[in-house]
């Protein structure tokens, strides 16, 4: 395995590490960890939506599965944090496989696929809100007990590094997939499923594998969320907020690229901060801005912020030459 394709990722991670090490206040730490968790969920979405071209509007289903399984296994069944975390990721993959199998087997694509993923996420939210095993509307609390064995830490700092490590993992995973047959097949299925089939690509299998990995990664983000905030309820775990943020990052930052979800998540984070600074306590202004940004991103920049940056760089170079 050559190192060169991963060099740019290392550089980005180094820059992020620098930013993380400068984190001083708790609110700043919270914001960064949340942004990174959302970025990881975005990397999950990006594999299915950006590379395979299947837009899901219900990634909350996977995020929530990860969050709840991690929380409930620890809180209700006393399972140790580490196996709980691993099982949470597997649970997410399981949910992804089920939804994917049903939807892709039925031939759903485009808007129909988006709709059904939305429906599945909402079903899970309603059930989680009512089910006693999940704590019902009150949610589930993981007992605060900082120690390495419980995957909990007294200070925020270790969480920052762990989140960063997972972001690095997500980027490396994306790059790795890109350079394999699986990655090429994802793009082929996205661009022209019929032509891909004629060339021997089992489109259904490719899409299923994509949703499995996508769901697992997003579930990982959910489990991380549960581990950090120690509390999940139905609207946190399965609410539309995470479905929307998971897709906005990659779209704004650049669909189907290795850096898109990260760039997008950071851009959204800063936009959110800006909105809060300008509009103060008025609820909804930041999200309204996100929505407007989504429309603009689709209208103006087909390749997201990254694409705009690359395009600008190209123009500068041409002017200099």
């Amino acid at each position: 395995m050559t190192i060169r394709p991963y060099l740019s990722i290392l550089v980005a991670v180094a820059i992020l590490a620098l930013a993380v090490s400068l984190a001083r206040s708790n609110t700043f730490a919270n914001a960064i960890v949340t942004a990174m968790i959302v970025a990881i969920a975005g990397y999950g979405w990006n594999l299915l939506g950006g590379y395979a071209g299947q837009f899901s509007f219900g990634h909350a289903a996977f995020f929530g599965a990860g969050a709840y399984v991690d929380a409930v296994l620890q809180a209700r069944y006393g399972v140790n944090a580490y196996p709980a975390f691993a099982l949470a990721v597997l649970a997410g993959a399981g949910v992804g496989g089920a939804i994917g199998y049903l939807s892709f087997r039925a031939g759903l694509r485009g808007s129909y696929f988006a709709l059904i993923t939305l429906a599945f996420a909402e079903v899970m939210r309603i059930i989680a809100n009512a089910a006693p095993i999940a704590g019902g509307a009150a949610g589930t609390l993981i007992r605060l007990d900082p120690s390495l064995t419980h995957f909990q830490f007294q200070s925020r700092l270790p969480y920052l590094w762990i989140a960063l490590a997972f972001v690095a993992f997500a980027m490396a995973l994306t790059r790795w997939v890109e350079r394999r047959r699986f990655g090429a097949y994802l793009v082929a299925v996205r661009e022209n499923e019929a032509a891909a089939r004629a060339l021997g690509v089992d489109a259904l299998a490719v899409k299923l594998r994509a949703i499995l990995v996508s769901a697992a990664l997003t579930a990982l983000a959910g489990a991380l969320y549960a581990q950090y905030f120690l509390f999940v309820d139905a609207s946190i775990a399965f609410g539309p907020w995470i479905s929307i943020e998971a897709l906005m990052g990659p779209i704004v930052g650049g669909l189907g690229t290795v850096f898109g979800p990260l760039v997008g998540a950071l851009a959204l984070h800063f936009l959110g901060e800006f909105a809060r600074a300008v509009a103060g306590r008025i609820p909804g202004v930041d999200l309204a801005l996100f929505g407007a940004l989504l429309i603009l991103a689709v209208a103006l920049a087909r390749d997201g912020v990254q694409g705009v940056a690359i395009g600008l760089a190209r123009k500068w170079r041409a002017r200099g030459a």
């Binding site: 047959r181 090429a184 097949y185 032509a195 891909a196 060339l199 690509v201």
Partner: protein, 251 residues
Amino acid sequence: MTEPLVATENLSKRFGGLTAVDDVTLAIPRGGVTGLIGPNGAGKTTLFSLISGSETPTAGRIVFDGRDVTRLAAHVRAALGVGRTFQITQPFAGMSVRENVAIGAYLRHPRRDEALARAAQAAERVGLADKLDAPASSLTVSARKRLEVARALATEPKLLLLDEVLAGLNPSEVRDIVPVVRALAGDGVTILMIEHVMQAVMSLCAHVYVLAEGRLIADGAPAEVTRDRHVIEAYLGKGAADRIGGGNVGA
């Protein structure tokens, strides 16, 4: 060697009220180039889709290389050795020529460097070597046709279904592609080609099937088939055969 590579038995395809392919029985021998001609709308591309698996037949069987493939999915047939090009070219947008062809090569060569190398080879065979890193969307029509062939070729097919690879090409482009097709056949690939450009059909095909309104109306050597009165009437209308009379009607 006597067993045909692909055979259809009473193959039919109906789309609602329209019968696109009507009770077609044919057998393509291994090796060589066979032609499939007929007026527009005769059902030729539909027949290709049935053989490659992108459409399922309403009735009949398809046997490929000794196996009944009637119910098999398109990607399974591709793995068994059926390759096809599309009449309206379908490049994978956003990918280079090399990456496009590699999608085909990946079928037999899962490793990236191996697939890319094989892709370059396939591109060379059709004369696209100098365009390997160009974006597929920047290609001219004739180059796109070659891309279609290269991509299908990269899957290392036993049977190659060429759907009007010469359509839209000027005479010199046609002159350039014909030897490519002949070379492919020479390398052992069985070729079934839908074609309207008669000069190519005459010079490449040992045997020709004629489809009109979904039905097989003639088959045989190109020279005979083009003199057949039913074929003439299918192309030129009723009574045309009488008006033209017997004699050499070939291109």
